[in-house]
C-alpha cells in the first residue's frame, strides 16, 4: 500500500513561512493534484515530498515508512521536472537506464525494462537519439519513462506540461493519465492550470499562500466552492457581495454569492421555466468573446456586471454589443459563501 500521510508539515525559508501545518492524506493509486497560483507553496511541498527540500516540522509517511528525514535516493519516489532535466550527454536509452545502472542490474534486464518503458511512452524508435534532437513533448515523455522505469512507489510531477504548446499538452495529459491508471501509481501533480487539474485528477488540493483552501474531487471543487478564493480560481464564477446580490435580485442577502456563468440563461419565449429559476432580469450586452463551443458574454443587469457562458449553437442567437435581453438565473446552482 503506497498511501501518503502528511501531518503538520511546516517549511520556512529564513524569514518567510512557505507553508505551515499542512495535513493531507493521499490514497494508494490516487492521482492527486496540488493546484494554486504561483508562489503558493505547492512546488515547495512537492520538493519536500521528494526530499529535495528539508522540512522544519511535521512528518511524511509513505506506506508504512516514515520518510520525513530520508535522503531522496532512499525514498523510492520518481519525479518529473518542468525543465525535463534530461542528461544531455546521454542518449534516450542511457537516460532511461540511468537509475537501473545505479541499482547495478544486469545488462539484459536493463535492456528489457528500458525497451518496455519506452514502448509504453511510444518512444521506442527514438532510443538512440540525444535529448537535444527531440521535441519538448518527446523530452517530457523520456523524463516520464526515466522516472517510471525504476518502479517508484510514488510519482511526483512538477508542472510537467507548462513548457509545451497547447495541442501537445492535451495529448500528453491523456497519456499521463492513461499510464498512471494502468500502473495504479500514487501520483502527486503540481499545476497552476485549473483546467489541467480538473481534467486529470482524482482529487485536488487548492492552495493559496501556503494553506490548503479546499481539498475535494474535481466535480465537487468546481460545483461547490467553499470560499471566495475557490470560486474565483476554479472558473469564471460571478462572485457577488451582499450588496451586489441584493441589487441584482431585489431581495436582501447575507454573505457573498457565487454564480457559475453557465447557470445563467437567456430567456426564450417558448420555453417553460420552473421554480428553480429566478424572475426575469433585464440586461445589456457589454462585450462578448468567442471561446469555440462557448460564447462568453459580459452583461450588465441592474448595474451588476455578470459573466455568462452560452453554448454556441445557432448563428441567430448571437447578441451584439448593446443588445437588450432578459436573463434567468438557476438559483439551485448558486452558492452562498
Amino acid at each position: 500500500m503506497n498511501s501518503v500521510a502528511i501531518s503538520h508539515l511546516t517549511k520556512r525559508f529564513t524569514e518567510k513561512t512557505v507553508f505551515s501545518d499542512i495535513n493531507l492524506t493521499i490514497q494508494d493509486g490516487e492521482f492527486f493534484t496540488l493546484l494554486g497560483p504561483s508562489g503558493c507553496g505547492k512546488s515547495t511541498l512537492l520538493r519536500c515530498l521528494a526530499g529535495l527540500t528539508q522540512v522544519d516540522n511535521g512528518t511524511i509517511q509513505l506506506g508504512e515508512r516514515d520518510i520525513t528525514h530520508l535522503a531522496p535516493q532512499k525514498r523510492d519516489i520518481g519525479m518529473v521536472f518542468q525543465s525535463y532535466a534530461l542528461f544531455p550527454n546521454l542518449t534516450v536509452r542511457e537516460n532511461v537506464a540511468f537509475g537501473l545502472r545505479i541499482q547495478k542490474l544486469d545488462t539484459k534486464q536493463i535492456k528489457q525494462r528500458v525497451d518496455d518503458i519506452l514502448a509504453l511512452v511510444e518512444l521506442g524508435e527514438f532510443a538512440e537519439r540525444y535529448p537535444h534532437s527531440l521535441s519538448g513533448g518527446q523530452r517530457q515523455r523520456v523524463a516520464l519513462a526515466r522516472s517510471l522505469v525504476v518502479r517508484p512507489k510514488m510519482l511526483l510531477l512538477d508542472e510537467p506540461l507548462s513548457a509545451l504548446d497547447a495541442r501537445i499538452r492535451k495529448h500528453l495529459r491523456q497519456q499521463i493519465c492513461a499510464i498512471q491508471r494502468e500502473l495504479k501509481l500514487t501520483t502527486v501533480f503540481v499545476t497552476h492550470d485549473q483546467e489541467e487539474a480538473l481534467t486529470m485528477s482524482d482529487r485536488i488540493a487548492l492552495m493559496n499562500e501556503g494553506k490548503i483552501i479546499q481539498c475535494d474531487p474535481p466535480e465537487k471543487l468546481y460545483i461547490e466552492p467553499s470560499s471566495d478564493f475557490t470560486a474565483r480560481f476554479m472558473g469564471q464564477y460571478n462572485v457577488l457581495d451582499a450588496d451586489q446580490a441584493q441589487q441584482l435580485f431585489k431581495e436582501s442577502y447575507q454573505g457573498s454569492l457565487a454564480i457559475r456563468p453557465e447557470s445563467i440563461y437567456v430567456f426564450e419565449d417558448n420555453r417553460q421555466y420552473d421554480e428553480r429559476f429566478s424572475e426575469k432580469i433585464a440586461a445589456t450586452v457589454k462585450s462578448h468573446q468567442l471561446l469555440g463551443s462557448i460564447i462568453r458574454y459580459q452583461l450588465i443587469a441592474n448595474n451588476v456586471e455578470l459573466t455568462v457562458d452560452l453554448l454556441n449553437r445557432h448563428a441567430e442567437r448571437l447578441f451584439d454589443v448593446g443588445s437588450e435581453l432578459s436573463i434567468l438565473i438557476d438559483k439551485s446552482a448558486m452558492r452562498h459563501l
Partner: protein, 259 residues
C-alpha cells in the same frame, strides 16, 4: 558587385590578413634555415645546421622536458583541485562565488614581477624552502591556470541547469559524487579541455616566474631561449620555430583527441 566578385574580394582580404600575421613567423623560419645572412642582400646558403645543433644540445632537451612536465603536471593538478572546487561553490555555496571571482582576478591584477618578489620572500627560508625548485613553479602556475579554468567551468555549469540535473540524478538513486562524475563532468568536459589548452600554451611560454623563481636551477624553454640570446641569432630563430611547432602540434593533437 556580383556575388563572385564580392567573394573574391572577401577572400583576398582574408588572405592578406593571414599573410600579414604570418610575416614575422615566415621571416624567422627563413632566417633559421640560412647559413649566413649578414652583409649580403641574399643569404649565402640554406642549411639545417642550426636545427641539428639545437636538437642535439642536451641542455635544450632538458629544458623542453622541464617545460612539458611542468605544464602538464600543473594542469593535471589544477584540474583536480579547481574543477571540484568551482562545482562545490556553484552548487552548494553560491554566495562564495563573488569571493572566488575576485580571487581569479588576482593573477591578472598583480604583475608577475611584483608577485614573484612576494613569493621569493615567502619561500626562500625554512620551513618552506622552495625557491629554485620546480615545486614553487607548480604552485605558482596553478594560480595562473585558475582564472582560465574557473571561467570555463563556471560558464559551462551556468548553461547546464545543474540543480535539476542533480535533483533528478539523486531521485534516481545516485549519490552526489556519482552524479558529479557521471553527469556533470562529461557535460563540462569540452569547456574544461579548451581552458586547459589555453592554459597550456600560456604556461609553456611563461618567462617571468620561471626566470625569477627557479632560474638556472630548473631551466625551462623560455629561460633557455633567454640565456641563448648571446648565441647566433640563426640559432635562436631555430629555437623559436621549434618551440612554436611543438605548441602547435600538441594543440592540434589535443583538439583532435577532444572531438
Amino acid at each position: 558587385m556580383s556575388t563572385k566578385r564580392a567573394m573574391a574580394y572577401h577572400y583576398s582580404v582574408t588572405c592578406f590578413i593571414y599573410f600579414l600575421l604570418l610575416i614575422p613567423l615566415l621571416a624567422t623560419l627563413v632566417y633559421s634555415l640560412c647559413d649566413q645572412w649578414g652583409a649580403t642582400i641574399l643569404p649565402s646558403g640554406f642549411t639545417f645546421k642550426w636545427y641539428i645543433q639545437l636538437w642535439t644540445d642536451p641542455r635544450f632537451l632538458t629544458a623542453l622536458y622541464h617545460s612539458m612536465t611542468l605544464a602538464v603536471g600543473t594542469l593535471i593538478l589544477s584540474a583536480v583541485l579547481i574543477v571540484p572546487c568551482v562545482f562545490v561553490v556553484f552548487y552548494y555555496y553560491p554566495k562564495l562565488d563573488t569571493g572566488l571571482n575576485i580571487l581569479t582576478l588576482l593573477p591578472f591584477a598583480i604583475p608577475p614581477v611584483v608577485s614573484s618578489v612576494g613569493l621569493l620572500q615567502l619561500y626562500s627560508d625554512y620551513p618552506l624552502l622552495l625557491t629554485g625548485t620546480p615545486w614553487i613553479l607548480v604552485g605558482c602556475y596553478v594560480g595562473i591556470a585558475l582564472p582560465f579554468i574557473y571561467r570555463a567551468v563556471n560558464n559551462n555549469l551556468r548553461a547546464l541547469n545543474v540543480h535539476d540535473l542533480m535533483d533528478a540524478a539523486r531521485l534516481l538513486g545516485a549519490s552526489s559524487t556519482q552524479a558529479f562524475f557521471k553527469l556533470i563532468l562529461p557535460n563540462i568536459r569540452k569547456g574544461l579541455m579548451a581552458s586547459l589548452f589555453l592554459s597550456f600554451s600560456f604556461l609553456i611560454g611563461e618567462f617571468v616566474f620561471a626566470n625569477l623563481l627557479a632560474g638556472a636551477n630548473f631551466e625551462t624553454l623560455q629561460v633557455y631561449l633567454y640565456n641563448m640570446q648571446q648565441n647566433s641569432s640563426h640559432f635562436t630563430s631555430a629555437l623559436v620555430i621549434s618551440y612554436f611547432s611543438i605548441t602547435l602540434i600538441l594543440t592540434l593533437l589535443a583538439t583532435r583527441f577532444n572531438r
